[in-house]
């Protein structure tokens, strides 16, 4: 821990501000009924979480988050938005308390589950002791890739990654079929009554 002590001040400030902005963006997305604003805010949310992942030293995850979250899904959501109304209909108030109770119960269960998690950086945690230790020790000999995460994803778990690529490809084909090629121009679009407000 002493090694980090010199950098602790600014980095903690950085993490705190990134997380605060994440919470702000999340609440703004919840409050907003203007769908385009929500799409742009979700792009900003992805950029923020990518920056946070870089700060956590998870560069690969940050790459994926920036490319998929801020790039592709923004465009896909815009494509979906073109086929629907531009404003979200207000939620019926009667359903709100039930949903709130469910969300709070789930959140409480998740927080309760984190009590059993090993401490951050605990050397005896399962992630650090059994197979993770082997990856850290053997990657330079086995694969000679400097980044261990890359070695795990592309070589040790190569078939798993291949399966993920197939899943993503299937999802992409399904999204293209749902949106319909050419329907951005040719399809009918629902027009809001209050769009001219």
């Amino acid at each position: 821990m002493n090694g980090f002590q010199t950098h602790l001040g600014p980095l903690v400030f950085l993490d705190l501000s990134l997380l605060t902005m994440l919470v702000l963006v999340a609440f703004a997305m919840l409050r907003s009924r203007h769908l385009f604003a929500v799409v742009m805010l979700s792009g900003i949310y992805s950029l923020l979480s990518a920056a946070f992942f870089v700060s956590l030293d998870a560069v690969d995850v940050a790459f994926t988050e920036a490319a998929v979250g801020a790039g592709i899904s923004t465009v896909l959501m815009l494509g979906g938005m073109l086929l629907t109304a531009r404003r979200e209909k207000p939620v019926t108030p009667g359903r709100a308390p039930v949903a709130l109770a469910v969300v709070f119960a789930t959140g409480a269960a998740l927080i309760y589950a984190t009590i059993d998690m090993p401490a951050f950086g605990d050397p005896n945690a399962p992630a650090n002791s059994s197979v993770g230790q082997r990856y850290v020790e053997e990657t330079p000999n086995d694969i000679a890739v400097p980044n261990i995460v890359t070695a795990v994803l592309a070589s040790y778990r190569g078939f798993d990654t291949l399966g993920e690529v197939m899943v993503i490809f299937t999802a992409g084909v399904a999204v293209i079929l749902l949106l319909g090629v050419g329907s951005v121009r040719g399809g009918t679009r629902i027009v809001d009554k209050d769009e001219d407000e």
Partner: protein, 105 residues
């Protein structure tokens, strides 16, 4: 020094965020999203030096590329939205507002 730069960039990010949340028109939000992406690029660049790993600059470059492509794609979608017979966007409510607001501001 890098800490001060980080604080300044975060302050700029908050300003862009306020515009993205409050911004009345579409263009405000597109511009806020784009400049927020630029701030993220800067932040990651500075963060690399702050953490003593200047090779994060490469990641920042990639982010700049993604941000550029995403903004182009978003703007491209709004050129698709224009109905065939009508003149470009000014018929649309929020956009008309944006142009008037922009002129007033």
């Amino acid at each position: 020094m890098f800490a001060t730069a980080t604080a300044a960039i975060i302050a700029a990010m908050v300003l862009a965020l306020i515009r993205a949340i409050a911004g009345p028109s579409l263009y405000d939000r597109i511009l806020a999203g784009n400049s927020f992406g630029t701030k993220t690029v800067l932040l990651i660049g500075v963060m690399g030096f702050l953490m003593g790993r200047p090779d994060f600059l490469d990641i920042a470059l990639l982010y700049a590329l993604i941000n550029f492509a995403a903004t182009l794609a978003i703007l491209r979608f709004f050129s698709y939205r224009t109905p065939k017979g009508k003149p470009a966007e000014p018929t649309d409510g929020p956009l008309t507002g944006s142009m008037n607001d922009g002129g007033a501001a």
